[in-house]
Amino acid sequence: MENVKPLIVEIKNLSKSYRRGSQIIPVLEDINIEIPEGEFLALMGPSGSGKSTLLNLIAGIDKADSGLVKVGGIDIAALSEAELAGWRAGNVGFIFQFYNLIPVLTAFENVELPLLLTGLSKKERHEHVEMALRVVNLSDRMEHYPAQLSGGQQQRVAIARAIVTDPTILVADEPTGDLDRVSAKEILELMERLVRELGKTIIMVTHDARAAEKAHIIVHLEKGVLSFE
């Protein structure tokens, strides 16, 4: 199948292992994958298969032992910690299973947080935040604190926070894992909309086959081997 879209993620011969005491536990071995821009990819696999590790490596929050991890044309494995931090700020949006909102900040402030690292003025930041919250349909909940929002609403705030800097990729680790079926459906539809309407690239780790169905590409990771559905 010919893919005309440019590649956003390019992984070659990627290996990663963890050390537990004197024992070295290999998690990923010789992984190769290419993800085109504007795709919605679901990464599935049993617990401990290394899917979250792979996601972390793509997002630049973990370092590979060997191999190439290119995101948006940049070899992120070659970046220093400080360069990686700067790269993440502009290129990666995170969506977590437990939303990871700061409880003492309002929805608005939580979404504003990543923009503090940009050179935007306060007025520009506010415009960006309002737009992001509009995209996730939470314009009327801006001044609410996380505790005043439902799980689904909190995850939508987290998605707004992830897209507010207009990153190259969105990485989602079990984004529906803590939600009821209705809320999970809403979140998946929202993510699908981000890909369809805003051209975002989403890489999602999930256990849920129903969630994976929404993705354009489903990849299984088992015993360190990737297989495409």
Partner: protein, 385 residues
């Protein structure tokens, strides 16, 4: 601004814990401030001493007296302006617990030596005229409710018998450092009485207070005075008033050192308490710090958040502690005026309070910050949920 807002919100996220830590800090600063003030009070005599005053006493010990005949010889030493004989009387007013300093002095030269003792001209004249008269400081008169003209009876300990004095004057201190709890009476009255009752102790004085013309020549004048009485039966030791006062304090140095030590131990204890609070706080928020790092925030930001929170907690405690120190010091001052006639909070004590709160806040944040900055993002994010 946003970071400051986050620091403030974080500081009060766990209200009970933060309030208790602030309370602890408040009490620590209060105790630290009071103990530092006690140390200052101990040195109040030194602080109030003048460079133009010398004290001559018996070279063996202050317990031994000097012949009053020395006065004329001392007066003839070049550079000496005025000399007053003086004796520690050690009298008890009604009960031993009513302690206050009482001295037998020569009114005119003594008051000339101590311009910081402010006496009205009427009271001064009345004091000088009446040999059985006495003057007392404002605080002492207030404490015992005395009135001018009252007969004050002191029971002698060094000089036996009951001694009646007519209160002829009230003096005030020129500044805050002047002791307003002294009781002064005529050395002549003491001497005349001793001539009648214990003649072998007459014409003796405990010390001479000497006013000199040139403070910079204090050491030469001291040597000249002591030289006069070299190889006599009562050799002298002359020193500046400051050295004389320090000599007294050196006798109780162990107590002063102990107080200073306790004041610093208090700071170390509160440092441990605040460090514990900050450790608990950062452990709970490690996932949030990992989240911030994942977004691109660096160690600098995390450091700013943790140090900011720690310093806010200690600063609030410090402000409350300083505010509380003043009324509590007033209560102390009233209750312990017998032992600490001068009990004022010095500006240096406030600066030390502020410095202590900064040190506590900084040290308490060190380890939690190190741990939070060093944590791997993936490990930190795993702690959520």
């Amino acid at each position: 601004m946003f970071i400051l807002k986050l620091i403030l919100k974080n500081a009060f996220r766990h209200k009970l814990r933060t309030s208790l830590t602030i309370l602890g800090m408040t009490i620590a600063i209060l105790a630290f401030g009071l103990l530092r003030t006690v140390v200052d009070a101990w040195y109040a005599g030194v602080a109030a001493s003048s460079a133009s005053r010398l004290v001559t006493r018996n070279a063996i010990s202050l317990v031994f007296s000097l012949p009053i005949s020395y006065k004329e010889k001392i007066q003839q030493v070049e550079g000496v302006k005025v000399v007053s004989a003086g004796s520690w009387f050690g009298g008890i007013y009604i009960d031993e617990k009513n302690f206050f300093a009482n001295f037998a002095v020569e009114p005119k030269p003594y008051l000339e030596l101590y311009p910081e003792i402010i006496l009205s001209p009427e009271h001064f004249q009345a004091f000088v005229r009446d040999r059985k008269s006495a003057i007392a400081g404002r605080k002492l008169i207030d404490k015992y409710g005395w009135k001018i003209g009252d007969i004050i009876t002191l029971k002698g300990t060094i000089f036996p018998g009951n001694w009646d004095f007519v209160l002829r004057g009230l003096y005030k201190g020129r500044d805050k450092g002047t002791d307003e709890t002294m009781f002064l009476f005529h050395w002549d009255y003491l001497n005349e009485t001793m001539k009648k009752t214990v003649p072998r102790r007459a014409d003796q004085t405990g010390f001479f207070m000497i006013g000199i013309k040139y403070p910079e020549l204090a050491s030469e004048i001291s040597v000249a005075i002591d030289k006069l009485f070299k190889n006599s039966l009562a050799e002298t030791l002359t020193e500046t008033e400051k050295a004389f006062q320090l000599g007294f304090i050196s006798m109780t140095e162990a107590i002063v050192v102990a107080i200073q030590l306790v004041s610093f131990v208090i700071i170390i204890i509160i440092m441990a308490v605040v460090a514990n609070t900050m450790s608990m706080t950062t452990r709970e928020r490690i996932g949030e710090y990992a989240l911030l790092k994942s977004m691109g925030f660096g160690g600098r930001h995390i450091t700013c958040l943790i140090f900011g929170e720690s310093l806010i907690i200690t600063s609030i405690g410090c402000v409350f502690g300083i505010i509380a120190t003043f009324p509590v010091a007033d209560i102390f001052s009233t209750a312990l005026s017998t032992y600490f006639p001068i009990f004022n909070i010095a500006p240096a004590t406030i600066y030390m309070d502020i410095a202590a709160s900064i040190v506590v806040g900084t040290v308490a944040a060190l380890f939690p910050t190190y741990r939070s900055v060093r944590i791997r993002i993936a490990d930190g994010l795993r702690r959520i949920g």
